[in-house]
């Protein structure tokens, strides 16, 4: 178990580091966290994530947990959800929140933007049909305002409607009275959030500290 497992782990980690862009130390830390959440199992289930106390007061709790099990976020080009995820999938989802490197080309920046916005889009598009319909958007805004009491519920609909109207106006411009705007496609989504600095805002800090557990296998 001991030595061979650690050797395998190191090799795996290197492979994962290359694929997701995390550093070895960061992967080590995340692995520690993964083991902690999954109670030392190989896979993580929804209950494990649901038991995190820090998420208790978060209005987006359910969506965040779903995002981890959404196949679209796991770089698999299919729809649907999985029941459990392994460490690799965990890393895949977390890699969406890596900060942008300092010197990246315009092209890479655009790619990063699309990736992060795709993550957000997937969170809204719950039925995976490629568009965010009015109902889905309404639900998203309602969830967002769910901690705000009754007033949140009343205005959530109005806000979602106004937002949808804004998207339709910006992306479609003129519409005949009997035309119907089906929903926000990914391209529309990109367009309305064009001035939103997502590549600089959507990130969390991943510590680089060396942890002892990475070496304890030896």
């Amino acid at each position: 178990m001991g030595a061979s497992q650690s050797a395998r782990t190191e090799h795996e980690f290197q492979d994962l580091a290359d694929r997701t862009g995390f550093s070895l130390e960061q992967i080590g830390n995340l692995n520690k966290r993964f083991r902690q959440l999954s109670k030392n199992e190989e896979t993580l289930s929804r209950q494990d994530l649901a038991s995190i106390s820090a998420l208790d007061n978060n209005p987006l709790r359910a969506q965040i947990i779903n995002a981890f099990f959404d196949k679209r976020n796991l770089r698999q080009n299919e729809a649907g959800t999985v029941q459990v995820i392994g460490f690799e999938e965990f890393l895949m989802v977390m890699s969406h929140f890596r900060p942008a490197a300092m010197h990246i080309t315009e092209e890479e920046r655009e790619k990063l933007r699309r990736e992060k916005l795709r993550f957000l889009f997937n969170m809204h598009d719950t039925d995976s049909d490629g568009t965010i319909t009015l109902e889905e958007y309404r639900r998203a805004v309602e969830e967002l305002l769910s901690k705000a009491g009754t007033i949140g519920q009343e205005t959530a609909k109005a806000i979602a409607d106004a937002a949808m109207l804004e998207v339709a106006s910006t992306t479609r411009g003129k519409m005949e009275p009997d035309e119907f705007y089906e929903g926000i496609t990914f391209e529309n989504f990109l367009q309305i959030l064009k001035t939103f600095d997502i590549e600089t805002r959507m990130h969390v800090r991943f510590l680089n500290m060396d942890t002892a557990t990475m070496r304890c296998g030896k």
Partner: protein, 689 residues
């Protein structure tokens, strides 16, 4: 009496000259020039001319009195800056800002002071009498970046938010360092010697001054917020409280030799969210415009006086000293920024690029604060005139040379500019969405980070603080909803002013394009009928409101009524088109209405019912039963009791009830926001902003 009048008229004359100068010189006479040259430069030139004129006449031109400066001219500018400080970028970068403000200023002071002392040791300069402490004192005066100058120049170049907040934040927060260094070195140079204990005390002093200033400001800010909670009956003097408390914060902290600027900033920052939730829209507008006006006038006067003082002031020109000072200031600034950025970038996620660093370094302008501090030096201080001359030269150099060239340089280097974007509800939704998402991801990731603490502060704020400082039920309202209401309000106001819906491109998209077509659409005829009913409703309301008694305490005069009703009408029209889907539920076949709809909409509407039927809130304004009514007008009074029976009744004019409900909701929102309610108003509309 004559003397009093004459000095008042002098002040008035100066103010008029200042305002006229700003208006004409800057905008009318030399319009093209004002695009190239920042206003501050033009105003200094005007000051020079005025000073020269006065001297030619034979009078003694007035010098910028330090007391006048620190007590009257500086506070409005700082309050304006602090009150409208963009909080989000400021708090995200507060670490960097503090490093630049504290360590950067210290570095500048010692570098310039030390090297100047070394210079003065050289025989040929002829300044061997200047000792180390005097040099250090001079260094501390001339090293601080000046908020007034920075504001004046950066206003026009529209640099990206990050760089702007870094330079601006630094200029505001370095006041504590400047105050401490200045006082310390002045004391020391009187005493003559410095011990290690003194240095240690100096450090302690710094913390006391800065944190004390912030604390004083925060206390006054909370007081102001608390007071604003109870001003709903005296809305006319709400702005006054804001100004008074802020000025008191400034004076109190200056009295205790704490940092007045930091107190003022802290006061503005602390009180703003609570005050804005409590005060009426008009008060908010008043505060905004008064602050802008005062700060504008102050800025103009400061620059003009700088010009005049240059002509007037006693000068002692020493080529070497002055030129070396200017060069040293530049060099120390550049070195300081580069060095500090190198260290800071290790801790930042969004790193500062070379271009950012350049602008931060180049934007370190000196201004009137340095001059006033120099002027404050006691007149038997050796070399005071020399110092003053050098300070003025540095100020002129930074304001003229750096101020004028920064804009072409920004364009040349293609530095990222500020993104001009309309406030977008989608962006606001996603800002808040992202906040919660990132907090959640941090929770998953394990160790507590930036978002976690921010969330904790927000929760504390919501649960404990807002309860005390915000009137009514508003404290529950999250930012998103407040934003949405503000946007609606703005659109309504723009409707009144321009007569049409504001939109960047002509768009005929309306709610019907978005709503799923589950129910048959409203016929044109129906729409017309509804419009007619609404219009006549409005006429009635107008008539009722006109018969209100006018008192000094209401600002609800005839013009406002027209505006408000117009807005109401237009909003109603918008609501009509936006709510067609909803209304069709109530307007179609009565059979539909008999069966209780299981949908969410009905439930929501029920809850609306409960809210309004409990008190006579909507009708309080309109209690005029004697007003003649047109036959098919449906008065709002009638609708209140009938709302309860909504489910049972069929079609017809009842259909408008839902609309009027929404309309009343909007109307009251507008009424509360746009006007100061009259004596008959009912307090505390639940769930209204």
């Amino acid at each position: 009496m004559a003397n009093y009048c004459s000095s008042s008229s002098m002040v008035d004359l100066w103010l008029t000259t200042a305002a006229a100068a700003r208006q004409h010189v800057c905008f009318h006479l030399i319009p093209r020039l004002s695009g190239v040259v920042p206003e501050s430069c033009l105003l200094i030139v005007v000051g020079l001319l005025v000073g020269g004129l006065i001297k030619v006449i034979g009078e003694e031109p007035p010098v910028l009195d330090s007391q006048l400066f620190f007590l009257c001219l500086l506070p409005p500018i700082i309050l304006d800056a602090g009150y409208f400080l963009p909080i989000r970028p400021f708090t995200e970068n507060v670490g960097t800002i503090l490093v630049f403000a504290v360590i950067g200023t210290l570095w500048n002071a010692f570098f310039v002071g030390g090297l100047l002392y070394a210079l003065c040791q050289i025989e040929s300069v002829g300044l061997t009498s200047v000792d180390l402490l005097a040099c250090l004192l001079f260094g501390s005066i001339v090293s601080a970046v000046d908020p007034v100058a920075v504001l004046a120049v950066f206003e026009k170049i529209h640099i990206n938010e990050l760089v702007h907040i870094l330079v601006f934040g630094e200029s505001l927060l370095n006041d504590a360092v400047t105050v401490v260094l200045y006082n310390l070195f002045e004391e020391f140079s009187k005493v003559g010697t410095v011990t290690v204990l003194d240095v240690f005390l100096g450090v302690v002093c710094f913390f006391v001054v800065s944190l004390g200033g912030v604390l004083v400001g925060a206390i006054y800010g909370i007081l102001a917020a608390f007071t604003s909670r109870f001003t709903s009956h005296t809305r006319v003097i709400e702005p006054l409280f804001v100004f008074l408390y802020s000025y008191m914060a400034y004076l109190s902290s200056e009295m205790f030799h704490l940092s007045g600027i930091m107190a003022l900033i802290a006061c503005g920052v602390v009180m703003r969210p609570y005050v804005e939730a409590n005060i009426s829209h008009k008060s908010y507008t008043t505060i905004k415009y008064f602050l802008k006006m005062w700060s504008s006038v102050s800025e103009t006067l400061i620059f003009i006086f700088l010009g005049v003082s240059t002509v007037a002031g006693p000068h002692a020109w020493n080529w070497t000293f002055v030129i070396v000072t200017v060069i040293l200031c530049l060099v120390s600034r550049v070195l300081g920024v580069i060095g500090l950025t190198f260290i800071i970038n290790k801790f930042r996620i969004v790193r500062l690029t070379k271009k950012d660093q350049f602008i931060v370094a180049y934007g370190g302008l000196r201004g009137a604060i340095a001059f006033s501090l120099g002027y404050l030096l006691s007149s038997n201080h050796q070399k005071r005139n020399l110092f003053l001359t050098a300070i003025i030269t540095v100020i002129f150099f930074t304001v003229f040379v750096q101020g004028m060239t920064i804009r072409p340089l920004v364009e040349l280097l293609a530095v990222k500019r500020k993104k001009e974007s309309k406030p977008s509800i989608n962006q606001e939704i996603h800002t808040e969405f992202l906040d919660h998402l990132l907090t959640g991801v941090e929770g998953v990731r394990g160790h507590y980070g930036h978002y976690h603490w921010k969330e904790k502060v927000n929760r504390f704020n919501k649960i404990y603080v807002k309860r005390w400082l915000i009137a009514g039920e508003n404290f529950m309202e999250p930012e998103l909803i407040a934003f949405y209401r503000k946007m609606e309000l703005k659109q309504a106001i723009m409707l009144v002013e321009s007569g049409q819906l504001p939109s960047a491109l002509p768009s005929t998209v309306s709610m019907q394009n978005i709503q799923a077509r589950a129910t048959p659409r409203l016929s044109k005829k129906r729409e017309e009928e509804i419009r007619r009913i609404l219009r006549s409703n409005l006429q009635n309301n107008k008539q009722r409101m006109c018969s209100f008694s006018y008192s000094r305490h209401t600002l609800f005069d005839a013009d406002e009524e027209d505006n408000v009703s117009q807005v109401h009408l237009r909003k109603m029209e918008r609501r009509v088109s936006m709510m067609k889907g909803r209304m069709s539920h109530y307007l179609t076949v009565p059979a539909d209405r008999e069966s209780p709809r299981p949908g969410v909409r009905r439930v929501r509407f029920e809850s609306n019912n409960q809210v309004f039927s409990a008190d006579s809130v909507p009708t309080a304004h309109f209690e005029q039963p004697s007003t003649p009514r047109t036959p098919d007008a449906v008065s709002l009074e009638e609708e209140v009791p009938k709302r309860r029976n909504l489910k049972a009744d069929g079609g017809g004019p009842r259909g408008t009830v839902s609309d009027s409900n929404q309309g009343e909701l909007n109307y009251q929102r507008l009424a509360r926001c746009l006007s100061d309610p009259g004596p008959n108003k009912v307090e505390n509309y639940p769930f209204m902003s």
